[in-house]
Each structure stands twice: as structure tokens, then as C-alpha cells.
Symmetry: C2
């Protein structure tokens, strides 16, 4: 039997890369990796996504340009809002941070749905996480369930009753350390991934943004060293 | 009191233009009109959208390039699938036509949601119609309700309880003739709008696609002549 197709959202970060490895190695999906060029500051992520897709093995990797920057409103796409540094990442969810991109996961999942419909796939995979989630509302299980419901009603196949869309969230209840362990179990080289919101010259991580701090904490808790960091030191 | 902001999806066709006129004139919203350049064959629609936005009066009109054509799968974005002509438009919904763009309204509404979030608007307006709807699944009230539910869970303001997103569908239960009457009541010049899926040279309507046939039938039933058609004959 041929493998079932799944569309996997891939930013090139630790979380989404782990999802891709999980979808390919653990679920044996035929993976269609979907990345977005959305005017983010951290375009080095897209290079990481390309490396990860090639390393894990996908049917196809698409990078779709989207223009959420036209709306403004986020530190990740606007030059007028600063990326916060040195926050207390042990208290996620206290406030929704300015790195929040408006309706980002809704837009990303909508594109994934469009591709899935063309591929006749009924499985989407997204690396949302309700533990270390930095307080984004569209990373919660309630949102994912509502999206599945809406998506099934939105599509030809859903209406005809021949499919029920499933959004897989393999990381939803994992700590960062748990994600790192899952990545390892799926044979992913985490040295290929990139997490920083505000990388410096040559794409090196800043070490101070939420994303860098969460990653660092995860590797500490998993009692491992970060292979991406090792590479950085090597190349200095 | 200043007017409430609303994001209105505007293709430049008869339906969405009527929605914009309704939102501006009937609801007194401060309107933010949102159009998409999605690789559609009928780019003359976008010129119509610009004319309509200027005529009705909006706070801002954005044309956002989106790349659903990368996925393929629709006669409206793919050169390999023909636009069907001369269909029986009195039997909508019998089959979902090849002019269906995968997950189109989901993607469009997601962008509208992103802009709404930045504007702190809680009102979206979309010209879906469950009567003359050509059989698209994402034009039904069930889909709209599911989108509202999902969108409220997706956003900062929804989670914080300070808003409940509303998707207005003023045309949902109107016939094409009813839409034409609403447009007139709101003072819209329908001669500015464009409906054809497959316009010929100079952007003239083909007169044979679903969209042209529905429009023609609507004007007949409303006992009016189509001002866009009159312009076409004039300019010949």
C-alpha cells in the first residue's frame, strides 16, 4: 500500500522539524513540507527548513511567499517593534508577546488545507505546543479542534463525507526537553534546525530572545548540548 | 462616536461590491477593503475592485498577492483546466465545479482575520451566497459559523474575552435579483463591477461562464439591464 500523504508545516525551527521527522519516521506519512516566506526577520529559518526537508526526506517542499507584513502589527514582521530580550520564559502565557504574528497559525493552516485538498490528503501536521508556547492563542488544543471542524466543512471532500480533516499536534503536551527526545528518537539532526527570532550576522542565534532561551532551557533539561550551538562555536 | 472598523472582502464582482456598499452605507462601518491577487485569470476584477472601493469610499484598500496557484487544482488559477461554459445555472450544487479554488474562502477569511486583529476590528464581511452559489462548500452558513468559532479562539482579543468575531454575510439568502436590488438601495453603481471568470480582450465578459450566466439571469429577474454590459456595447 502506498503511504498516506500529509502536509507538514515546516519553519525550520526545532519544533516543526521534529514534527516532520515524526510524520515521516513515526507515522510513515508521505510528507509534503510547507514553509512560508512571510517577511520574517529570521529568513535563515527558511534555509534551515530546506536542509531539514532534504535530510528527513519529503515528497515535495514548497516555500510560499505570504504578505502578512502588509498588515503590520508584529515584531517578527515589522521593523518598528523590537523583539523582546531576556524575558522570563518560565512564565509563559502571562501576556501575549509582541512577537505574536496576527492570525498566523490560522493563515498557515489555511494554506496547508488548500494544498491538502489538491493532494487529497486529510492529514495536516503542526508543531504547536501548549506548554512552552510563549502565550500564543492559536497554539491551544481548543483552537486546533475548532480549525479541524471548520476545515472539514470548508472542503469538497468534507461536504461529500469522504474525509474528516485531522490536524496532528505531536508536540502539544511535550516540554522542550520532551521534544528534543522525540527528535532524537526519530533520527533528526537538530544541528540542522534554527530557532532564533533575531539572528545576527551569518545567521547565528542571538541567545537572548524567547525562542533562544526556550531552546537553551530544553537542551539543559534534556541533559544534552545543542548541536546548532556547537556548530556556531566551531565556525567562529 | 467614531465608526466601527470592518474588513470587507472585495473581489470587484457584483456580490462583494454589494457587500462593501452595504457595509459602508447600511451599517455605517469604517471599511477596510481587502482584495487578493491570487493568480486568477480574471485580473480585470482587481481593476474593478479599485474602482468600486474608490466609489463607495473606504478607509483603505489593500491588494494582497497570494500564491494559491503554487498548489494548482482549479480552473481559475491553472492553465491546464478549462473554465466550463454554458452550464445550467438553475441547478447549482449538483456537483462542485472545477472553478472551485481549494480552500479559497478559508484562506481569504484568514487574511481578513489577520488584518482585523491589527485594526482591532471584530467585523468581517464576505459576499457568500447559499442560493446562487455554484456549489462551493465554503459558501454555506455552517462553514461561516465554524469559521467564527475558530477565529474567536485564534486571536488575542478572543482569548482575553474582549471580542467575539462576527462574519457578516448580507447576501447569504438573497437571489441574484435580490442582490442587485440591495446594491441599488445602497447606491452602488453596478457598472463598475466585473463578474466574468474568463474575460476576453479589453476585459469584456465572455457571457457564457457560470458567473456571466448568473449575473445575466439576476438582471433579467430584477427587470433591469446590466450597466456593465451597456458600457461594453458602447465601447465596441
Amino acid at each position: 500500500m502506498s503511504r498516506k500523504p500529509a502536509v507538514v508545516l515546516l519553519s525550520g525551527g526545532l519544533d516543526s522539524s521534529t514534527c516532520l521527522a515524526w510524520a515521516r519516521k513515526h507515522q510513515d506519512f508521505a510528507c509534503y513540507a510547507l514553509s512560508f516566506d512571510y517577511g520574517q526577520r529570521h529568513k535563515v529559518e527558511l534555509d534551515a527548513a530546506t536542509r531539514v526537508a532534504a535530510s528527513v526526506g519529503v515528497e515535495r517542499h514548497l516555500v510560499v511567499p505570504i504578505h502578512l507584513d502588509l498588515f503590520g502589527g508584529s515584531a517578527l514582521t515589522s521593523d518598528e517593534i523590537a523583539v523582546p530580550k531576556g524575558q522570563d520564559v518560565d512564565k509563559p502565557g502571562a501576556a501575549i508577546p509582541p512577537t505574536y504574528v496576527p492570525a498566523r497559525n490560522t493563515v498557515f493552516l489555511s494554506y496547508a488545507l488548500a494544498w491538502a485538498e489538491v493532494l487529497q490528503a486529510q492529514d495536516l501536521v503542526i508543531g504547536v505546543n501548549a506548554i512552552d508556547y510563549s502565550g500564543y492563542p492559536d497554539c491551544r488544543p481548543e483552537f486546533i479542534a475548532a480549525f479541524e471542524q471548520m476545515a472539514t466543512l470548508a472542503t469538497k471532500a468534507g461536504v461529500e463525507g469522504s474525509m474528516r480533516l485531522k490536524v496532528h499536534t505531536p508536540l502539544i503536551s511535550l516540554t522542550k526537553a520532551g521534544i528534543i527526545e522525540l527528535a532524537e528518537a526519530c533520527g533528526l539532526d537538530l544541528g540542522l534546525t534554527h530557532s532564533c527570532y533575531d539572528p545576527g550576522e551569518f545567521g547565528y542565534p542571538c541567545g537572548e530572545c524567547d525562542s533562544c532561551l526556550l531552546r537553551k532551557k530544553g537542551f539543559q533539561q534534556a541533559n544534552r548540548s545543542d548541536p546548532a550551538l556547537a556548530k556556531r562555536l566551531q565556525n567562529r
